[in-house]
């Protein structure tokens, strides 16, 4: 059995884990429908059933990125966030639950800072260049590193070593995964993403975000997330260690692919975009703390 098959069978075993809150499946399938068929009151009702999800929606809606005003009811939180964002929270919530607190190999807050940072940068870049579905870019950015959680869960001790090695060598995580585990978070993430029936384009992002050459030619979402991932890693939204790298973003193959289809990319003021990420750092940190740090306060 090769390394990937091993991961596959370990992930199969994960099925038995109490991962997905009961409310998620009906909610998720409801949110799949065209917006005009969605019964908002039903969504509010379902979200309110699950205190964790309700709390996360409220915290997210009140986070500085959204909350210029105070949102106090689940209904107004959902309205402020939008249904697609609620869906992203749902998924984030499920994903977060698959790793028990004592198993984290990479610090949980660091992981979510990178994921949320990448989500925000991806959706912002999508809007800037005219990609038609910025919310999809948000979701793909949020979940692109799903495989890190799989590796954490299926190979906890070995994976901790792997991260330490990347950290000591100041190199990219997927390179040290390759040499130490024999597979990367892209491959293991793909298996879980398929298992959870993610949409095909998000699965592509999970699988190819470090390997553009292998991605289909029209996988623009992969390019967006690949570039956003680089941007986050050089602007203090990486994996919490120094990566010795210098990235000529406009020389990356993802850039060329994207610019071929979205000419607005070529006019993007990359320096200013980069500085804007710095400007959003504080908010990203606050949002991650609000949404993903365990809090003990009573719910409103």
């Amino acid at each position: 059995m090769n390394a990937l098959d091993q991961i596959r069978s370990r992930i199969k075993a994960l099925e038995a884990m109490p991962t997905v809150p009961a409310v998620v499946m009906p909610l998720a399938s409801m949110l799949q429908q065209p917006p005009e068929h969605i019964d908002l009151e039903k969504v509010v009702e379902l979200v309110s059933y699950d205190s964790t999800i309700a709390a996360q929606c409220l915290r997210m809606a009140n986070a500085p990125l959204f909350g210029r005003r105070k949102t106090e009811t689940v209904r107004s939180a959902i309205l402020a966030l939008g249904l697609k964002r609620v869906q992203a929270i749902l998924l984030g919530c499920c994903v977060n639950k698959i790793v028990p607190p004592d198993k984290w190999a990479l610090d949980a807050v660091t992981f979510w800072r990178h994921s949320l940072g990448c989500a925000l940068v991806s959706s912002k870049m999508a809007k800037l260049i005219g990609y038609p579905d910025p919310e999809k870019a948000y979701l793909a950015g949020l979940l692109h590193d799903l495989g890190i959680l799989v590796n954490t869960l299926t190979s906890t001790d070995e994976y901790r070593e792997c991260i330490r090695e990347a950290c000591d060598g100041r190199r990219a995580l997927h390179l040290s995964e390759e040499s130490r585990l024999g597979f990367t978070h892209c491959q293991s993430g793909k298996i879980l993403a398929e298992h959870w029936h993610f949409s095909a384009d998000v699965i592509e992002v999970v699988e190819f975000h470090h390997d553009l050459a292998a991605a289909p030619a029209d996988a623009f979402l992969v390019s967006i997330v690949n570039l956003s991932d680089f941007l986050c890693r050089v602007r203090d939204l990486g994996y919490g260690y120094y990566e010795a790298m210098g990235v000529d973003l406009a020389g990356e193959s993802a850039w060329a692919k994207l610019a071929g289809h979205y000419p607005a990319l070529a006019d993007m003021d990359l320096a200013r975009f980069t500085m804007d990420i710095d400007g959003a750092l504080e908010e990203i940190t606050a949002t991650v703390d609000a949404v993903f740090k365990p809090q003990h306060s009573a719910l409103p």
């Binding site: 010795a244 000529d248 406009a250 020389g251 990356e252 990359l270 320096a271 804007d276």
Partner: protein
Amino acid sequence: METGTAKAVTLPGAEDLRNPAYLKIRDVIYQISGIYQPEDKLYLLASRCARRMSAVKASTPAEYLQHLTARGNREAELRLLLNEITIGETYMFRSPSQLEALRSVILPQLVQAKSGMGFKRLRLWSAGCSTGEEPYTLAMFLLEESRRLLPGWTFDILATDLNDNSLLTAKAGIYGEYALRSTTEPLRKKYFKPYDEKRLQTTDKLKSLIRFERVNLYDEGKMAVLKDMDLIFCCNVLIYFDLASKRKVVQHFYANLLPGGYLFLGHAESLYQIDDRFHLVLFPGVVGYWKPPIGYKGGGKP
């Protein structure tokens, strides 16, 4: 020279910072000078504006924006505002991310690229060195790293400025606590000697690595002879030039650099629409402008 922290001025409250007039002022400044303040630095912009606002008796940011953009005022007021924005003393080891990028990526890259060519020499240029903090930092940094990263290499640092007084201060190398705030004790012992009760002076050995010279970046004849640079540092200097002059200076920088060399600007400056031959390269915490080697086709990390 990079901008320092604001002197004591009443800082605007968080509510004030959301005033859209500040964003517009920010954009006006960016258009003219290339200096950009991201949202988390708006408090700095606001505090600098506050001084100009009281000078012109504007009571709100919107009123000041109107004054700033009014025909007839625009040029003079913008200059005064830029003076506020760019004042502030600098200090040594001000940009650790830049030094880290040099240490972990750029120097190994240059060494590898140049050792094949036979000459083991690096040339650095601090263009607009002001009172000398930057070139002395680079000299200390290179001396510290040379055993590990640059064995058998020599390097020289050219430090230029237009301002004679700044150059005199730089050559004297006498610094107080503010300039030395980020200089560690071992480095102070190694590269400085006591000057008076409150100040230290750079050692002759450190000074000997740096050639100070008065250079006007707008002097085409002079710019044309400064050749074969590996690294150029030009922080918060271009802001004093209009767009056409900026383009000219940056064109010269491009010619002054060897292929594979880097230009560094101040942390809020950008070359957007000034020069598109440089490649913007992202390092953790800092960006550099790279002159690609001849025949570079893109496709990844330099």
